[in-house]
Structures are given as structure tokens and as C-alpha cells.
């Protein structure tokens, strides 16, 4: 049925249409927007949010929420920088430790949620404070320089390929493959759709939640390292508030906060919309204060349009 298929395509790719409209409008309004330098800049700006948001996509698909990703990103980056400089570890070991930190935070979140029966909002709100605090404790509140080898992650290969963008794309593919093709990924959709039915179908719900939040933590760690590399130093206050951008990106990308719906591609588009919007408003010299207003309106509009469209098709 072509009509159904095209309707479904629109429902899933409404965010793409919004992105296209935004790009066209900005290229008409500002002559600088479509320049290569600027577009690469947008990509780099989108990268950290997008990587965090891919991690959040797993969580939101299961019907949960992860408020701790910004803090976990900072803690992971601080862990890397501190163990490499103060601790004197070789940088690959520091990278592994940093990822392990992210995973560990995620596992604690999941344990509180799956076994302690805390609502995800509360468990990850606690972790938001704990991880941020630990980052400040370890760093004693000051930025720590990133090891030389790792900070190349912030470079641009040749003239056209910023490594953060590359990392973003790789993480996006990884997220898409996990969601679409693996057992934990498919189980996440089932749990978000109906947790009890998933459990009565033999899906080990608690175990899948461990995987889900661990993935979110791991993605947060990668985002934290990419961010620190761009800044050449790990900062304990980095990525504060990014969890909200990540959630916004996922939701703009068509996921439902009640679970069972969401795609990596949608999340990427959501993150790009946020980045394009911020960049465009800068180019148009809109004050930073007004930018926040505009972005808030866009988030509300994006979800509103999506909700109305769904209501229309049902």
C-alpha cells in the first residue's frame, strides 16, 4: 500500500523535512551558512550532543530516561585525563578506564532501577549529582590537560573531515545496528512497548536494562572524551545540561518518552536540527538569551507536530 508507506515515511522522517526547511531558510537568510567551514563547524557542534543522544535513545526506547549523561561524560573525561597525567598510565589504558567509568555509572543507574525499583528519573537524577561531584573531587575543580595522543580526536583530517563528526557517524551506525539487529536492541523495544508482556515472553528485563544503561554510560564516556579533546582539556564542569539537549534530540527525532519508539537516524537528525538552529541564530546575531527561547519553542513545536500527525493517522 503506497499511501500507507508514504504516510509511514513521513511520520518517521518529519524531522528530516524540518531539517531541510531549516537549512534552506538559513542559507537564504545568511550567506555564510552554506560555506564549508561553517557546515563542518555545525557538524562538530552537533557531534557531542548526538553521541550523548544515541546513548539516550536506548534508554528512551525502553521507556526510561537518563538525566546523568552530561555528568557521566565529564567524569569519564576527567578520569581519562587524570589517570594519564597524574596517574601516569599509558593513554590506551586511560581510555579503557574512562569507558569503564561510563559503563560503571550506567550499571549503577540500572541496578537502582531494575533491582531497587527506583523510577529512572530519580535514579539518574542522583547519578547526575554523584558523577558531577566525583568529577569535581578528582580534578579538584580545575581543568586537566588531555594526553596529546587522545586530543587528536578533536582534529580535522585533511581539510574536510573533523574527527568528532567521524566519531559521531560511527557511534550512530553502532547505535542503529544495536537497536535494529541485536537481541538487546529488539528487546528494548518490547520492554518499552509493554514490560510485562516482554517479561512473560521470557525476556530478562532486568538484564536488558543493565545493558541499556551501560550503553548509555559508554556513549556518554565517548562524548565526554570527544568534547575534552576538542577543548584539549578535561573540565569538571563540561557538558553540564547536555542531558536535556540529548533528550530533546531524541524526542525531536520521533521517539516517544512512553517507550517503544525511537531510531538512531531520527536522533541524529534531532541533534543536527539543534546544532543548525544554534549556529544559524549565531550567524544572524540573535542574542544568546533569545536563542534559548527559540530552541524551547522549536522543541515544543517539533513534538506537537509529531503528536498531531500521529493523531491524524490513527
Amino acid at each position: 500500500m503506497p499511501s500507507k508507506r508514504s504516510a509511514a515515511w513521513l511520520a518517521e522522517n518529519g524531522a528530516v523535512a524540518a531539517l531541510v526547511v531549516l537549512v534552506v531558510a538559513l542559507s537564504l537568510l545568511s550567506s555564510d551558512f552554506l560555506s564549508l567551514t561553517n557546515l563542518l563547524n555545525v557538524g562538530v557542534q552537533a557531534a557531542v550532543t548526538a553521541i550523548l543522544a544515541f546513548g539516550s535513545t536506548f534508554v528512551i526506547v525502553t521507556g526510561g530516561i537518563d538525566l546523568s549523561v552530561g555528568s557521566v561524560a565529564a567524569l569519564s573525561a576527567i578520569t581519562l585525563a587524570w589517570t594519564a597525567t597524574e596517574g601516569g598510565l599509558p593513554w590506551p589504558a586511560a581510555v579503557v578506564l574512562s569507558l569503564a567509568t561510563g559503563v560503571a555509572c550506567g550499571l549503577v543507574n540500572a541496578a537502582l532501577i531494575a533491582y531497587g525499583k527506583l523510577p529512572p528519573f530519580i535514579a539518574t537524577l542522583a547519578m547526575l549529582g554523584i558523577a558531577r561531584g566525583l568529577a569535581l573531587v578528582i580534578s579538584q575543580g580545575s581543568p586537566i590537560a588531555m594526553p596529546e595522543a587522545v586530543s587528536h580526536l578533536g582534529d580535522t583530517v585533511g581539510r574536510f573531515l573533523p574527527i568528532p563528526v567521524l566519531v559521531m557517524l560511527v557511534m550512530g551506525v553502532v547505535a542503529a545496528v544495536i537497536l535494529n539487529r541485536t537481541y538487546p536492541g529488539r528487546a528494548m523495544y518490547a520492554i518499552g512497548g509493554n514490560e510485562e508482556a516482554a517479561r512473560l515472553s521470557g525476556i530478562k528485563v532486568s538484564r536488558i536494562k543493565l545493558v541499556t544503561y551501560a550503553l548509555s554510560g559508554a556513549f556518554a564516556a565517548v562524548a565526554g572524551v570527544v568534547l575534552a579533546s576538542r577543548l584539549a582539556s578535561a573540565q569538571p564542569q563540561a557538558a553540564a545540561g547536555y542531558e536535556l539537549d540529548a533528550i530533546a534530540a531524541v524526542v525531536i527525532g520521533g521517539a516517544s518518552l512512553s517507550g517503544g519508539k525511537g531510531r538512531a537516524l531520527g536522533t541524529l537528525v534531532g541533534a543536527l536540527i539543534l546544532a543548525v538552529l544554534r549556529n544559524g541564530l549565531n550567524l544572524l546575531s540573535v542574542s544568546a538569551f533569545w536563542q534559548q527561547v527559540v530552541i524551547g519553542v522549536v522543541i515544543a513545536l517539533a513534538v506537537l507536530v509529531d503528536t498531531l500527525r500521529r493523531r491524524g493517522t490513527n
Partner: protein
């Protein structure tokens, strides 16, 4: 005529749900709406209650055409609908629910005394004894339904639509409901009554409109014979309502010994053999569902053992039960059996998701192929495997729940109320499926509150009362009266075994 619907037509992507349906309601009549699941009953009542807009056709009230654009319009016209899923706020009191949205006010504040008084009057009108201050969550299903009816009265309903009100009630509760329905009818309310229980029609109905494949095929008096009603509904006579075909018995596949959970069930022991259907009868609340869920590992138990093919299952471990070849079709299809927002293929593949994983990746093609095979075998009526389960009729949804265990090749199936809310034709299809399962050596434990069904489809019947097994009867010797007598046994005395 109080209400008249003419030529109502409504299409959804892929299906024409209603095709020129007519319906006429007189004041003071109980008008039964009869039809298989998928015949268009739900769509029709959703149009009358403002949830859907028809593509074509019109509705007249008192001879004047009216527009029912939303629930508010329906309310203003005096049309109230009681769905199977109640619209009550569990945490609020009965009186608050009855005044929901329009509480009596004094000086801008809610007048609690008046609210309680009004609540009490409404409850009196439906003849139910409940303190209006009781929170709704503390009421049983039957009394919640009475509160729903009282709510409709609060809105001065002239047309009351009841969607399968008896599906969740016990025999005694049904009698009470009928009393209330008759009283409302005598007050001049027109009642649209949907039921799958044919024997209820002559008892409560005045006229019957039969829907089939989205058309109104007949309007007949309620005294019409059941055979004739079935013929009108399915378009052909059904020779056998319960086509149980006993199979050759083999090894015991499921053995339960001394299963106990304090406060729920006590010392439950039984066996189900390959090729056998064991019926588990009893009153609602006797502990049957609790036993089924504990056997399957969905809930814990305090003592006892469960064996599948001689191997002991660890307690409270659904995954282990599933691996051992046990499957549960739960009582609450939508809440526990299905992921409603996912498609048919996803739901059918839910149980095998893990086994279909090779080197980390799910074999989606294999899953899809298995789903297609089972969907074909079960005759699931669908536009394709990518149709959302939410949009299927009750019978077809139930086939999907059973189907996921067929995909998983479960050898022992526990069916908890497998035909609740399922129409006559789909019931027979499910019975035939049970026959096919036992023919191929499966074991089936069937919980059902429908006595003719238990008697007709079981080889052996276990009866539970107050958490205990109080009797076992071979199907050939069982009668409705015999089973009922056991089901109401007062266990405190002696066990009839």
C-alpha cells in the same frame, strides 16, 4: 425512535470497517448488537460515542440529524458509553468519580456534602450498596461497572451503550446487572447491549441487530433461536460449538507438586500429559490464575515443585520455564500478552528473539519467515505482518499471543481464559487449534470461567475453590452442576477428593 443511524460507513487503511450500517433504537428497549469480532460493533459504538467520525451516513436523534464530533457532543445528546476498560480514576472516591468534571460547588469550593449526597442517590438508583467515600480501586470489577452505570445516569443518559458488560462478571453478578438494565429500560432509557453470550440475549434483550463484515445483515426479535443467531452472525451454521477431539495420551509433560503460596493457593498438585487438555475450573478469585503464573515462573511460590518433562524448574524464572518448553497465554491479553504498538511480526517473534540471535545479530529474516508461517497456520486476519497488533480484533489478537508460543515450539501451553472477549467463530478456531496441538503431542492446561467451554474442551477437569484443588472429574462424567457444586465448596470444612 430515539436514535437512528442510517448508512454509516467507515474505512481504515486496508479495511472497510462499516459499510452502510443501519441501527434504530426505541426508548425503553434493550437492543442487542451481535456480531463476530471484526464485524464492526466497536466501530459503530465509537461513531455513536464520538470517538470516530463516519465517512458517510448520518445519525438522527428524535428524528433530527445530529453531528457527534467528540465525546462532549455525545454527552450533550444523552449518549453514554461503558467500555470494557472502565473510565474511572482508581485513587478517587466513588462520589468524586460520579461528579468527575462537574463537582457541585459552593462559593467556588467543592461542596463535599452535596457530592456525597448526589453520589449516594445515584448509587441507590442502580441499586448498589457502596459507601460513596470508598476509593474506586477498592471495589471489585462488578461494582466498578455499577459505578460506571451510575456515572452514565449522572449524565442523564437517554442512550446507554454497554460493550460486553458481562464478559468480566460471575453468574451472580450478571443477574444483578440484568436487574439494573431492566430498571433503566423501564425508565425509558434505550440500551445498546453487546455480548458474545448467546444465552443472555433472550433473557435481557428485546431486539437484535446482527452485524457481519461491516454490514447490518438482520434485525430480529431477541427470542430468535441461538442456532439462527449464529447462522446470521457467521453466515453459515456452526455444527459443533466445542469440537474436542481427544488425542492419544503420552508421558506427563507438566507435573506440579505441593505448590503453595501463603494467602493465594495451597498444596496444589496435578499432572498434564502429552495430548491432554486439563481444564482448571473454579470461581473468579479461586486462585487459578495465581497458580498458572507461579507454574510459569511469573510469580514466586513458597513451597512445592514444578517439573516439565521430568526436569525441575527453578522458581520465579520465566526464562527457564520458557526454555523448558512451557508457554503462558495470560488472562489479560492487552496488558500482559501483547506489545500493542508493535506489529504482528514483532509480537510473534518475541519469545524466540534470543534463540534467533547468531553471533550477536538477530536473524530477522528467519523470525519473519517463522511469523509468516504461524500467522498462516492460525489464519490471522491481517493486512500483513507489519500491521500494528493494536488494530486487530480480539480474536486475532489472541491468535497472535498463542502464535508466539507456536513459533517458540512450546510443548506445554497454559491458556488462561483463552476465549474471553473472542467471538463465536474465532472461539471455534481456537478450539480447533487446541485439538491440533494435542494431536501433535502438546499438553494444554486451560483455565476458563466459561463452564460449557471447560466441559466441552477438556479431557479432565480440576476444580479450585479458595486456593485449593477441591476435585477432579473426567470430562465424560462432569456436568455443569457437578463442577459448580465443587467450585463453591467451603474448603474450611473437608476437601472433596
Amino acid at each position: 425512535m430515539i436514535l437512528r443511524a442510517e448508512g454509516l460507513t467507515k474505512s481504515f487503511p486496508g479495511v472497510r470497517a462499516l459499510d452502510g450500517v443501519d441501527l434504530s433504537l426505541r426508548p425503553g428497549e434493550v437492543h442487542v448488537l451481535l456480531g463476530e469480532n471484526g464485524a464492526g460493533k466497536s466501530t459503530l459504538i465509537k461513531i455513536l460515542s464520538g470517538a470516530y467520525r463516519p465517512d458517510d451516513g448520518r445519525v438522527l436523534m428524535d428524528g433530527r440529524p445530529v453531528e457527534i464530533r467528540d465525546a462532549g457532543d455525545a454527552r450533550r445528546l444523552g449518549i453514554s458509553t461503558i467500555y470494557q476498560e472502565f473510565n474511572l480514576v482508581p485513587e478517587l472516591s466513588v462520589a468524586e468519580n460520579l461528579s468527575l468534571g462537574r463537582p457541585p460547588r459552593r462559593f467556588g469550593l467543592i461542596d463535599s456534602a452535596a457530592m456525597m449526597r448526589r453520589g449516594g442517590e445515584l448509587l441507590d438508583r442502580v441499586g448498589v450498596r457502596v459507601d460513596p467515600r470508598t476509593p474506586v480501586r477498592r471495589l471489585g470489577i462488578a461494582r466498578m461497572q455499577m459505578v460506571e452505570i451510575a456515572k452514565a445516569l449522572a449524565l442523564d443518559a437517554r442512550v446507554l451503550i454497554m460493550d460486553e458488560p458481562t464478559a468480566v462478571l460471575t453468574t451472580g453478578e450478571v443477574g444483578k446487572l440484568f436487574e439494573i438494565v431492566r430498571r433503566l429500560r423501564d425508565d425509558g432509557v434505550a440500551i445498546v447491549f453487546i455480548t458474545h453470550h448467546l444465552e443472555e440475549i433472550a433473557e435481557i434483550g428485546d431486539r437484535v441487530t446482527v452485524l457481519r463484515d461491516g454490514r447490518s445483515v438482520a434485525e430480529v426479535p431477541a427470542g430468535t433461536s441461538q442456532d439462527e443467531l449464529v447462522r446470521l452472525m457467521v453466515g453459515r451454521p456452526i455444527d459443533q460449538q466445542f469440537p474436542r477431539r481427544p488425542a492419544e495420551l503420552g508421558e506427563p509433560l507438566l507435573s506440579v507438586r505441593g505448590l503453595t503460596r501463603t494467602g493465594a493457593f495451597d498444596d496444589i498438585s496435578f499432572e498434564v500429559r502429552a495430548g491432554e487438555v486439563v481444564g482448571l475450573a473454579g470461581l473468579v478469585g479461586a486462585g487459578r490464575t495465581e497458580v498458572a503464573r507461579a507454574v510459569f515462573g511469573a510469580d514466586r511460590y513458597d513451597a512445592g515443585e514444578v517439573f516439565v518433562r521430568g526436569r525441575r524448574l527453578p522458581p520465579a524464572d520465566v526464562h527457564a520455564a520458557m526454555e523448558a518448553g512451557l508457554g503462558l497465554v495470560p488472562e489479560d491479553r492487552k496488558g500482559q500478552g501483547l506489545v500493542l504498538g508493535a506489529d504482528i511480526g514483532e509480537n510473534l517473534g518475541l519469545v524466540t528473539l534470543r534463540d534467533a540471535t547468531r553471533a550477536g545479530f538477530v536473524d530477522l529474516k528467519g523470525q519473519r519467515a517463522a511469523a509468516a508461517r504461524v500467522a498462516g497456520q492460525l489464519g490471522i486476519r491481517m493486512t500483513g505482518l507489519d500491521q500494528e497488533v493494536r488494530t486487530l480484533s480480539g480474536g486475532n489478537q489472541q491468535k497472535v499471543v498463542i502464535g508466539k508460543w507456536l513459533v517458540a515450539e512450546a510443548g506445554v501451553l497454559i491458556l488462561d481464559e483463552p476465549t474471553r472477549g473472542v467471538d463465536v467463530a474465532a472461539k471455534v478456531e481456537i478450539y480447533q487449534l487446541v485439538n491440533a496441538l494435542t494431536d501433535s503431542g502438546h499438553a494444554v492446561l486451560m483455565i476458563s470461567s466459561d463452564l460449557p467451554e471447560v466441559l466441552g474442551m477438556s479431557d479432565r477437569i480440576l476444580v479450585m475453590a479458595r486456593g485449593r484443588l477441591v476435585g477432579e472429574l473426567p470430562a465424560a462424567e462432569a456436568t455443569q452442576d457437578g463442577v459448580m457444586a465443587l467450585a463453591v465448596t467451603d474448603v474450611a470444612g473437608s476437601r472433596a477428593e
